[in-house]
Symmetry: C2
Amino acid sequence: MIILNTINDIRLEIKEVLRDGKSIGFVPTMGYLHEGHLSLVKRAKQENDIVVVSIFVNPTQFGPGEDFESYPRDLERDSKLVKDAGADIVFAPQVNEMYPEGCSTYVEVEGNITKKLCGASRPGHFKGVTTIVSKLFNIVTPHRAYFGQKDAQQVAVIEKMVRDLCLDIEIVPCPIIREDDGLAMSSRNIYLNEEERRAATILSDSLFKVQEMIRHGEKQASRISDFIISNIKNEELAEIDYVEIVSAKTLEEIEEIKGDVLIALAVKIGKARLIDNIRLEV
Amino acid sequence: MIILNTINDIRLEIKEVLRDGKSIGFVPTMGYLHEGHLSLVKRAKQENDIVVVSIFVNPTQFGPGEDFESYPRDLERDSKLVKDAGADIVFAPQVNEMYPEGCSTYVEVEGNITKKLCGASRPGHFKGVTTIVSKLFNIVTPHRAYFGQKDAQQVAVIEKMVRDLCLDIEIVPCPIIREDDGLAMSSRNIYLNEEERRAATILSDSLFKVQEMIRHGEKQASRISDFIISNIKNEELAEIDYVEIVSAKTLEEIEEIKGDVLIALAVKIGKARLIDNIRLEV
């Protein structure tokens, strides 16, 4: 496995890979990797000749007052982990490599799909995501790109961007990986102290319970969200940002649990803003 | 030469071209072609194995009240012309092929480079241009793309977009092609009646005269623009939109004629809004 830091260097590698007629699987990450990321790398390795992993904490997707500066970083550990998971190339650029001075071009998916859910509490977040992912796609030119379903809205936004901009890249959403007690894996779980870590299971606990309710026939979205809200309120350390029941593809709100449904939540626990979701075909 | 109308069809062709290791030159146009466009096609043919010409009147770069509906179209004539000039593939999609319902992703170069000159009188114009050019680049995946220097601001904006989004495409600006009396060729010249057509030479006349002034040592930008304004005012049918003297790369205003200088104007004559410019290395 090789680690590259400049666009020029990775371009030369990619050209060689393509000249040999090999397929490229791409896993864009912000580093501080966990089993969720590694599941993407392993899946990419199964489906492609070459796997590229980018590690870049992207400043443009953080709002003012968010955790860009304090976001955890550990390139050495990350490199070992992705090597073991089967990566061939790590691309780990500095900020000024991806955003040189004067850089002012943005890619934006407009509409409710980026305005609701995380877009409501993090204005500009998805504009930062689609811009950096576009740049990385243009550099890596992957055949397939792998994203975790934990960031369900991100997956929907990227899928729409690829469709709208006529990019010839297959987006592969991959299942959420959870800790034994149900907590969705996230680099931000590091922010939780012991007590908060216990409290954080309230997200997955709520989702698993409403999954049961739906399995037993509940069809009304408002009853599902009411249940989640009251369940989370049992947890003193938890502060709800949003609970949304939407169509998984368009992220438009729904009243009846029917079709491809996404139940998504964001909850603040201590310094950490955690998200989780389940997607159901009803 | 083949004419294709769908993204799927041209993608299949492009894949074959790339599989054979051939280089692709791309000339994006809005059709109703003149010698200016054909000079781009010929240049592309000299420098690439395969030349793709797109013909698409892009609705998103026209503002409300502009000439999208009335913009001249003649695909049959255009096809013959580009075939003779050496094109291999014409891509002529319908509007709903490039902008299917619900399409809401845009590429935008922010800052003065798109806000000034034509951007001031045509808000949203360059957002439409960068969005459609991005899509076409993603479909055609050219090695080189050819643009006429008549749209000097467009060239600067596209060059910036390519740099900012890390696209691996060489942008090749090509010289303005003029009628015998100096008028820069443009599809919009068709809007001019006989009298207006004679009046339209006031643009190139002004530019040629200030080129002489600069050759004779004039260094002060304000004296150059004053001269152009008073020269154009001699022509009753002409109504100035802007006269700008700027750095050719950043489009920032300059006071001294020095370095890579762009002198650009937009003038309304009858229904037509005409643009012209000269670029000088001083």
